[in-house]
């Protein structure tokens, strides 16, 4: 399995746009899109949990080369809280109910666009990790919070980081 790369990110952006999927990059992959210098293995998407959106997402993923069975496509359509895919061109986590975010709509209104990629606001990314409170989150939160300060300072200063 090769690591997620820019070309694949462009492909997923295009496929999800074609199918009209509402989603946001979250987690460390979202922070990386915002400019956070760190490493991660997979991409994490926060997906609006509606049957139509789930159906559209499953169709887009099959188009991208994910080997979804009918049952797996149904899981996505139903919007199980977490779906982990390692049966496609790259590893992808679909999160329908991230800890710390009440509604997709609220996160959507705060989203940041980075080269056309919809990304959760850094505050939401931090909130999700703070509530999840795993060992790995505890390790990354101080650097993420420092990045938030830097990122906000740049935005207030009118300087773009993306």
């Amino acid at each position: 399995m090769a690591a997620f790369d820019y070309r694949q990110a462009q492909e997923i952006r295009a496929a999800l746009a074609r199918h009209g999927v509402r989603y946001l990059f979250i987690g460390k992959s979202g922070a990386i899109l915002l400019g956070f210098p760190d490493t991660t293995q997979d991409a994490d998407l926060f997906v609006d949990r509606t049957p139509a959106n789930g159906r559209a997402l499953a169709a887009a993923l099959i188009e991208l080369g994910f080997a979804l069975t009918p049952d797996q496509a149904t899981d996505i359509e139903r919007g199980k809280d977490l779906v982990q895919l390692k049966n496609g061109p790259f590893d992808l986590d679909l999160v329908f109910a991230p800890d710390g975010i009440e509604h997709f709509e609220a996160a959507w209104t705060r989203r940041i666009e980075v080269e056309g990629f919809p990304v959760c606001h850094i505050d939401d990314i931090i909130a999700i990790k703070a509530v999840a409170n795993r060992v790995r989150d505890r390790e990354s939160l101080p650097r993420l919070r420092a990045f938030r300060e830097y990122w906000e300072a740049k935005r207030k200063g009118g300087l773009q980081t993306d």
Partner: protein, 75 residues
Amino acid sequence: MPSDLTPGSQDVPHELWEAFEANAKRSLETRMRYAFIHTYKPVLDDAPYRAFETMSAYRLWCENNLPAWLGYGRV
């Protein structure tokens, strides 16, 4: 850069500020090339598909099945 945006300001340690600045100068494509890596994670990477009804079921599964050193356990 405005005067209040000096390295180390805004409560950001100088070395981190410098790292953020260096990364901001890279294209998104380069940032992604440096950021996304593939390393084998035992158990987690051993199934092509998993789905969890709830996040709490997922957290419990992580705690019961993944090696602690992967860091997926709750604090």
